[in-house]
């Protein structure tokens, strides 16, 4: 429930964002630009507040500079591909019988490492829980935990997408 509400608030932000951007095309005003950046900042804040992204995520942004203006984007994209693959592997391993816990643990370890790269706190924490179930060879627990991981991951992805888009827009507007 709470999550949905949060999503709603995020969506609200998103909506505002889109409105702002659309207005941009009409005529970029400084105010609009600022508003956009504002939106991006608050969106990001909400992501942090909800624990989806860690403060260190800001470090990633700091790495972005003129030399690699799309750094964060590239990183996130890399993360997407890598994590999607890993999620698939985990699914597969979970569905096979008998369950190979060692392999599961391995995959999850990689996934954890991957999500830590973008400092996704929630997902990373959930991975730890999963691994605990794994070492206890608790299939049920693993399944449940994995469901949670997938959920968190999906949400994270959505938010990241939105966030990135905002950032992009802000950058575009800035150039203008």
């Amino acid at each position: 429930m709470a999550r949905r509400m949060l999503d709603a608030s995020n969506q609200g932000l998103l909506l505002q964002f889109w409105l702002a951007t659309s207005s941009l095309s009409k005529g970029k005003t400084r105010m609009d630009r600022n508003r956009l950046q504002h939106q991006a900042a608050s969106m990001r804040r909400s992501l942090f507040d909800q624990g989806y992204l860690d403060e260190p995520f800001i470090q990633l942004e700091e790495l972005q500079d003129d030399a690699s203006p799309n750094f964060v984007q590239e990183i996130v994209t890399l993360f997407y591909t890598d994590s999607a693959r890993l999620i698939q592997n985990i699914e597969h391993a979970l569905n096979s019988r008998p369950i190979d816990f060692d392999k599961l643990d391995d995959y999850m370890h990689q996934f954890k490492g991957s999500s830590s790269s973008i400092r996704a706190k929630k997902v990373t924490n959930e991975c730890t829980v999963f691994r605990e179930y794994c070492s206890a060879e608790n299939a049920e627990g693993c399944m449940r935990s994995f469901q949670q991981v997938k959920q968190d991951y999906a949400i994270l992805r959505r938010k990241l997408e939105v966030y990135l888009q905002m950032v992009r827009q802000a950058a575009v507007s800035q150039k203008a």
Partner: protein, 572 residues
């Protein structure tokens, strides 16, 4: 995904730590990218690598191309810890481990394997900014190390070794081999030159076989438990060897030994191998084969006496004798006297070694190396080691009367070695040799080997089958054994156990090791009390001993050629 930065060969300039040349190894592409960016922000020169194997190749190609290595712990193709060891032993570069898993046990393992630091993911910028301290620290230590090894032995060893090795180029055939040789030769020069400490070049003390032998002897004499760099230094009594050199060497040795211990159960198989003493000439000349129990005298013995070190100790000794390997082939024929001399002086391995060295230098050089030469090629071609080994190994063995005698005494040992791991091959080899040598009677060997075999858990499954069959074989006809790749190697190991095998052993062992980590070998040696390394052959291989990565050792201990073999084989 290997992204090479251009111009990484240029050493650091004066704006240290800027320009620090970092090699990042991680299978996670996301992290590779992030780390690359972060390090660039610190003004470092970054090279990324997605595979440990590639990383090692890069490091080997450019010995001085990197200042520090950052590696992830969990990698698909090779364990991060293993890579860490290799780098530490071979290149002596500071290595930083990183992982998303921060469990104390893991961190401890990292430190045990020689990591300078252990970072937790996600990694912060500030953590990366400080990695230069590890480079700086190492540099300071190296400067001190450089001074010491101007010792005659090292120089002599390297010189003679160089010559010999040049002749027997390893077939291994990688360009790296030749490149390595060149590098090694260069390194030797550098080391000898006592290059300017402040230069960016890392001068290292070269732990030649001879030197290492002395070291092991000293360690044994003192008693592994009570050993300390100062004591060892005093005992070794080598001018210009500093306490720091000994200390760092001791640390590596300890690591190696501990590793061997774990492998001890693997090695047992080898022990069973007891090589039947080459019945005649060779044994006669070698005379050294004392009953297994008499090992203590020998340098090797020293090592074996240590319960803890077991394999390590032994291997070390073997190594020392490694230099003699060249002689092994030769001695069999002639310097029997020499060999026998050594035996009596078992305690004075040094002296015996010296004698060997001398003889080796003169007589052996041609012969022994020849044999090695043939074998070495085999050695170096790690990938084809089995085949080559068989071919090569046996050839030398055959010509030498004595050597032929040494049928693979310890087939099990060899097997074990092979199984164990490539890197261990070397150590095993040494062990075998030592064992072979030590055991005057096949019976002894047999006893010994079985023990070893137990210790040596055949890691390499490939060799397992082969070994199994071999152990029963006391190959007098080494040639027969040659057929089987691994068998061959095994044979050699076994055969070399005695005099002959010594010569061939090194190669065999090397090969085996290459194929499989050679831990087991070391262990096997332990059991045997290698009484006499009489076989010069053994000696040459010994350098590779024990360290988990024989490769690494050879750098220090062996002539360039050995390095080649090891390098190539290690990561095959």
């Amino acid at each position: 995904m290997v992204l090479l930065e251009s111009g990484f060969s240029s050493p650091r300039n004066d704006v240290f730590p800027a320009g620090l040349r970092v090699l990042v190894v991680d299978d996670d592409p996301t992290w590779l990218k992030i780390l690359e960016k972060m390090l660039k922000k610190c003004s470092y020169e970054v090279t990324t690598c997605g595979l440990a194997r590639d990383a090692l190749n890069l490091l080997r190609e450019k010995k001085d191309g990197y200042d520090i290595v950052i590696s992830d712990v969990n990698m698909p193709d090779m364990d991060g810890f293993k890579l860490l060891e290799h780098v530490g032993l071979e290149m002596d570069l500071p290595v930083i481990m990183m992982s998303v898993d921060g469990e104390t046990s893991r961190v401890m393992k990292g430190v045990q394997h020689g990591a300078c630091d252990y970072l937790l993911k996600p990694i912060r910028m500030k953590e990366l900014r400080n990695i230069w301290q590890h480079v700086f620290r190492k540099k300071i230590h190296e400067v001190r190390d450089i001074e010491s090894l101007e010792g005659i032995e090292s120089i002599q060893m390297t010189r003679s070794g160089c010559d010999l090795f040049d002749d027997g180029h390893f077939l291994g055939g990688d360009d790296t081999t030749s490149g390595r040789k060149r590098k090694d030769a260069d390194n030797k020069h550098e080391d000898r030159d006592l290059s300017d400490p402040s230069s960016t070049k890392k001068a290292r003390v070269i732990w030649t076989v001879d030197l290492h032998q002395k070291f092991v002897k000293a360690v044994n004499q003192i008693g592994f438990d009570k050993v300390g760099p100062k004591k060892i230094l005093d005992l070794m009594n080598i001018p210009r060897l500093t306490r720091e050199n000994v200390a760092s060497h001791l640390q590596k040795y300890r690591l190696y030994l501990s590793r061997l211990q774990k492998e001890s159960d693997i090695k047992n198989s080898f022990i069973g191998m007891k090589h039947s003493d080459p019945p005649n000439n060779s044994t006669a000349s070698f005379g050294l084969h004392k009953p297994s129990n008499t090992m203590p005298d020998d340098v090797l013995n020293g090592t074996y006496s240590f319960p803890m070190n077991n394999s390590l100790v032994q291997t070390v000794d073997v190594k020392g004798q490694g230099d003699r390997h060249g002689i092994a082939s030769v001695p069999v024929a002639e310097p029997k006297g020499a060999l026998s001399k050594d035996i009596p002086d078992s305690h004075k391995t040094k002296s015996s070694q010296m004698s060997f060295d001398h003889s080796l230098g003169s007589a052996a050089s041609g012969v022994s190396f020849a044999s090695f030469g043939s074998t070495t090629p085999a050695r170096y071609s790690w990938t084809e080691i089995p085949e080559i080994q068989s071919k090569v190994e046996y050839e030398p063995v055959q010509p030498e009367n004595g050597f032929n005698q040494l049928p693979l005494p310890e087939p099990s040992m060899i097997e074990k070695e092979v199984n164990r791991s490539r890197t261990e091959v070397k150590p095993l080899f040494d062990e075998y040799r030592s064992n072979l040598v030590g055991h005057s009677s096949p019976a002894d060997l047999v006893d010994l080997f079985p023990v070893q075999s137990k210790n040596q858990t055949l890691k390499n499954q490939v060799f397992d089958p082969i070994f199994a069959t071999k152990s029963s074989i006391k190959t007098k006809d080494i040639s027969q054994n040659c057929l089987a790749d691994s068998e061959f190697a095994q044979r050699n190991l076994n055969a070399t156990g005695r005099e002959v095998t010594l010569a061939s052993l090194p190669e065999d062992l090397q090969i085996f090791w290459l194929q499989g980590d050679g831990y087991p070998m070391n262990i096997a040696l332990q059991n045997f009390d290698f009484p006499e390394y009489n076989d010069p052959a053994l000696i040459d291989e010994t350098p590779f001993y024990s360290y988990d990565a024989p490769r690494l050792d050879h750098e220090h201990f062996f002539d360039p050629t050995e390095y080649y073999a090891i390098d190539q084989g290690l990561f095959v």
